[in-house]
């Protein structure tokens, strides 16, 4: 025993002696101490430009690669309505949203042409009649053939007449198309030194279409594209689009990362290729270090053509994204100044705590902005659900209406979000959006909240209360409604259950598991009564309308149409809206859709939680709050400066 003790003691002594010595020698100075540090839950696991699993992947992709119009959106309004000045001193004049339907500036790639071509203008889009050959080729590409209608498994269902075919083809591939002309500014290079020109853009688009399996998310838009070619020595790029949907165009211009031809021509199939260790892009930053799923370090390119335009103050040479998975450690680290900003939105309760106890984290500042994320209660009114219009003796809709009237959004915002949120109306578009549903006076329409009216409706529809105080169905059967939701929504569901008790309806929380999304999807069985859902507004398309309530050409409900609703009027209205090219007209048609949708009570808005960013000014100051975005965004990058 003595011998063993002696060994252990000497080991311990060695350890104790070694630790300070080791610490001193091992205490290397952290590299990149002057970098802008972002703490994130999830760091990109791969640098392939089109596969974003982590939220920060899009951030990194956007820094390494450019899109046609850059990935910068315009600086928005921030608190105080101050003026902004570009790095070269030019005062920024906000774009007229009516004039610019795409709501983006020409970004750093300096491409002109997102606007409708003005008289005498060289760049922009204009309509033209498609060549019949072109059209036929496009129809073939979209596999729209006369006489054959494909079913879900590719089998022939029936053949159609010429007129039917033409009607169908016109919808999919109209006879007049849009031609876009973009002009590229000279001098831009890839980060390995090669020259960037329109050939790369053409290559990228061809590549994506050819490899639809690999970059499928984007390729669907490009099925609308016929051909692009370069003119004028490589700096003008023409694109012919057989789609008239504004959203398609936005996606093409804003989401497609331009790939270098000289590198990617060696990778015929993106799915089978391994991670690219050295991504080559035209973006402002270059990859300096990639520690798989631990950290990513980006370095500003010396040879970036637009470096001077990028920064108002001194350039930010390095950006480091670090993984920190535990929220407590994130906050403490932020407070210390080891990181400068947390990427993800902070949970409302955490934000409230930090706000209340200012001495808990004295160096952490919070930015709370409106966001385009809407939390909703989705009611299953499809034919696989219990709450269709024809259910409950034709009173299904009345039930849904009463439920909608009973939701007290202000109280939910107060109790569940601690005040950090906005109320949203039944059109499911946030107040900040240009096409939001307005009331007669032109103000944002508020969702109606009226307990008495809800009770009256239910009484009138025959949902009578029984001895327990809860209502029964008109036929006398017991009525319990499940709300399916994940663990994090428990508080919200509790609050809802309490609200609904006021109108005598019994709601219960049903915990969703990993299979929840399967249960909810229409084709898997739509196994839910009500579901806590979320709706995100994406600026490039009016997503929740089409994906939520539309159907595919063969009649099956779209991917996110969970209940499988097939309301013909709604589908027509959406279709009408989608193909409208005048922006004001499109907004008006969007409002028409919202008005109609509101009356259906299919998806009841609960609130729109704010995006709460946590940041510190220990190392960098000049953060820009942007609506619908975190505090670290494209505009922030331009205006940040080191705290002295």
């Amino acid at each position: 025993m003595k011998k063993l003790k002696a060994i252990l003691f000497s080991l311990a002594a060695l350890f104790a002696a070694a630790l300070p010595a080791g610490a001193l020698s091992a205490c290397r100075k952290p590299q990149y101490a002057d970098a802008l540090k972002i703490g994130a839950l999830d760091v990109p696991k791969t640098l392939m430009p089109y596969d974003s699993i982590a939220g920060t992947s899009t951030l990194v992709a956007g820094m390494l690669y450019d899109t046609l119009l850059g990935s910068q959106s315009e600086p928005a309004d921030y608190a105080g309505g101050e003026d902004y000045y570009f790095p070269d001193g030019e005062k920024y004049v906000p774009l007229d949203k009516k004039e610019n339907p795409y709501m983006f500036t020409d970004g750093l790639v300096k491409v002109e042409g997102a606007y409708q071509k003005k008289d005498g203008g060289k760049y922009g889009w204009e309509r033209y009649a498609a060549d019949p050959d072109e059209r036929r080729a496009m129809l073939q590409r979209k596999e729209i053939r006369k006489g054959v209608r494909l079913g879900p498994k590719g089998e022939e269902v029936f053949s159609e007449t010429d007129a039917e075919f033409e009607a169908r083809a016109e919808l999919a591939v109209p006879k007049t198309w849009l031609k876009y002309t973009f002009g590229l500014v000279e001098g831009n290079t890839w980060n390995d030194g090669e020259v960037f020109n329109a050939d790369d853009i053409k290559f990228t688009f061809d590549y994506i279409v050819k490899n639809r399996g690999g970059v499928s998310a984007i390729s669907t838009f490009l099925t609308n594209y016929v051909k692009s070619y370069s003119l004028d020595g490589g700096n003008t790029f023409d694109m012919h689009l057989s789609s008239q949907k504004l959203s398609d165009i936005k996606t093409i211009c804003n989401s497609i990362l331009i790939l270098p031809e000289h590198i990617w021509k060696n990778y015929p199939n993106p799915m089978a290729v391994s991670n690219l260790d050295n991504p080559v892009g035209t973006g402002a930053y270059k990859l300096e270090q990639f520690n798989q799923s631990q950290s990513v370090v980006l370095k500003l390119r010396d040879d970036y053509a637009f470096k001077d335009k990028l920064f108002a103050k001194a350039p930010i040479e390095r950006i480091m994204i670090m993984r920190l998975e535990n929220i407590e450690i994130q906050l403490t680290s932020l407070n210390k100044g080891d990181i400068d900003v947390i990427w993800e939105s902070l949970e409302a309760s955490k934000a409230y705590l930090i706000g209340e106890k200012a001495d808990l984290y004295p160096n952490i500042k919070l930015s709370s902005v409106e966001y385009d994320f809407i939390t909703t209660l989705l009611i299953n009114a499809g034919d696989k659900g219990r709450f269709g219009d024809d259910k409950f003796g034709g009173n299904g809709r009345a039930l849904r209406q009463a439920v909608s009237l009973a939701v007290d959004q202000e109280r939910l915002i107060r109790d569940v979000l601690y005040g950090g949120g906005t109320a949203v109306n039944g059109g499911l578009v946030s107040p900040g959006q240009p096409h939001a549903l307005l009331d007669d006076r032109g103000d944002y329409l508020k969702k109606e909240f009226n307990i008495d009216r809800a009770n009256a409706i239910l009484d009138g529809a025959g949902f009578n209360k029984d001895g327990s105080g809860y209502r029964r169905a008109p036929d006398g059967s017991e009525l319990t409604i499940d709300i399916l939701a994940g663990i994090y929504s428990q508080r919200l569901v509790q609050a809802l259950v309490e609200d609904f008790e006021k109108i005598g309806l019994r709601f219960e929380y049903r915990q969703g598991d990993g299979q929840t999304s399967q249960n909810v999807k229409y084709e898997k069985g739509a196994n839910f009564d009500a579901y806590i859902n979320s709706v995100v507004y994406a600026s490039d398309r009016l997503l929740m309308f089409d994906a939520r309530y539309g159907v595919y050409e063969n009649g099956s409900p779209r991917l996110f149409n969970y209940s499988g609703i097939k309301d013909e009027t709604l589908i027509d209205l959406i279709f009408d809206m989608d193909y409208e090219t005048g922006i004001e007209e499109q907004y008006e048609k969007a409002r028409a859709v919202q008005r109609y949708l509101e009356q259906l009570y299919l998806e009841i808005p609960l609130y729109s939680p704010n995006y709460i960013s946590a940041y510190t000014e220990k190392n960098f100051k000049g953060w820009i709050k942007m609506t619908s975005n975190g505090i670290y965004n494209g505009a922030s990058l331009r205006f940040l400066e080191k705290t002295a």
Binding site: G213, S216, S274, Q289, Q292, Q294, L324, I329
Partner: protein
């Protein structure tokens, strides 16, 4: 224990392994309806031709038994496919992270075993005294308190409040490990060869455990520059402390109870009656018997060495394997999940086999059927 038994056991293990591989193939296909799903994500449901094309490209259109044969063939060549999340060969993804988990678990286990034996043995000889009581009380406390809470508290105390230790990562930010793979594998292979030779020579079964371990450590020191080792050791200190706090106690308790039981046996009396001194009695007789249960326990936990603790790795941002399986399941990375499951099964089977052999050698009472 004869050769026939050894061969039989090995064959049996292979059989189990094969069953595992087969289950590994079929079970996910029963749970997830469509194994091609990750590849088809993003392709809208109405693009049927496209979906079929992708399916065909990755071999999902073939009948199941053909897929199974392809799967087996790839297995034998260590081709576990490409990870959907990481866009890299699964093999590379896994084996970039396993060594990090091993660093913590192996070091933790070693320290816990040595310290546990010392503490347990001392406590067993001084029953009722401070050492013993401390062990018993401490055991109660550690079983009640969850390790991740302890980890968080330690990070707050020793990494933030009093900044002795770093709080994240395995190395200082911005540095990465530079390892000389040739040297590493060379020394490791040498260690394996040495094990075989030494065992044939000395016939001591514990050599099977000890020599490879020593070889591994030697390989690490040979292949990795000292500054990197110091850096990693510095970062590993806090996680190790947290790990050992719990492990030491379980080993110490086991040793203590085992020794108390053995010390009361008659053969210890015989040994003392022979006039052997205390040390000889302790090591040759008492410990030799008392530590047998621990061999089994260590063998069982061998599989855990490679896995790593998910919670601790999350808290310390340690680049280990713990979170890998979780990610694979959440996102539905089929190939990765499959490979990890197979890996764990393989390690468990192998560890069982090894422990079995060693235990047979150590305890002659076990009959080899």
């Amino acid at each position: 224990m004869n050769t026939r038994y050894v061969v039989k056991r090995i064959l049996y293990s292979f059989l189990i392994l094969f069953i595992v591989i087969t289950l590994n193939f079929f079970l996910p296909r029963l749970v997830f309806e469509d194994p091609a799903e990750p590849f088809l994500r993003g392709i809208p449901d109405d693009e049927f031709m496209l979906r079929n094309a992708v399916r065909k490209e990755f071999g999902f259109d073939k009948p199941v038994w053909v897929q199974f044969l392809v799967y087996l063939k790839k297995f034998v060549t260590f081709d576990f496919g490409t990870s959907y999340i990481y866009k890299q060969p699964v093999f590379k993804v896994m084996f970039d992270r396993i060594p990090w988990s091993m660093v913590l678990s192996v070091a933790g286990m070693l320290i816990s075993i040595v310290a546990g034996i010392v503490w347990g043995a001392t406590a067993s000889t001084k029953r009722g005294k401070a050492v013993d009581n401390a062990l018993l009380n401490y055991a109660t406390i550690t079983t009640a308190i969850p390790s991740f809470w302890v980890a968080l508290v330690f990070v707050m105390l020793f990494a933030f409040a009093v900044p002795i230790f770093p709080y994240r990562g395995a190395m200082t930010d911005g540095y990465s490990l530079s390892i000389n793979k040739a040297v590493f594998f060379g020394v490791a292979a040498g260690a394996v060869a040495l094990t075989v030779v030494l065992y044939k020579l000395l016939k001591k079964p514990l050599i099977v455990f000890v020599t490879p371990l020593a070889g591994l450590i030697a390989a690490v020191f040979a292949a990795v520059p000292a500054s990197d080792i110091a850096d990693i050791a510095y970062h590993a200190a806090l996680p190790l402390i947290v790990i050992c706090l719990g492990s030491i106690v379980s080993y110490a308790l086991m040793v203590r109870n085992s020794m108390i039981a053995v010390v009361n046996e008659d053969y210890i009396l015989t040994a003392r009656a022979k006039g052997l001194d205390k040390t000889r009695v302790l090591y040759g007789h008492t410990m030799r018997n008392a530590l047998l249960p621990m061999v089994t326990s260590i063998g069982m936990s061998l599989a855990g060495i490679f896995g790593g603790s998910v919670l601790l790795e999350k808290i310390f941002t340690w680049p280990g394997m713990g979170t890998l399986l979780l990610e694979a399941q959440n996102i539905g990375d089929f190939q990765l999940a499959q490979a990890i499951m197979f890996f764990y099964s393989f390690i468990t089977i192998f560890a069982n086999l090894l422990t079995d052999f060693v235990y047979h050698k150590l305890d002659p009472r076990i009959k080899a059927e």
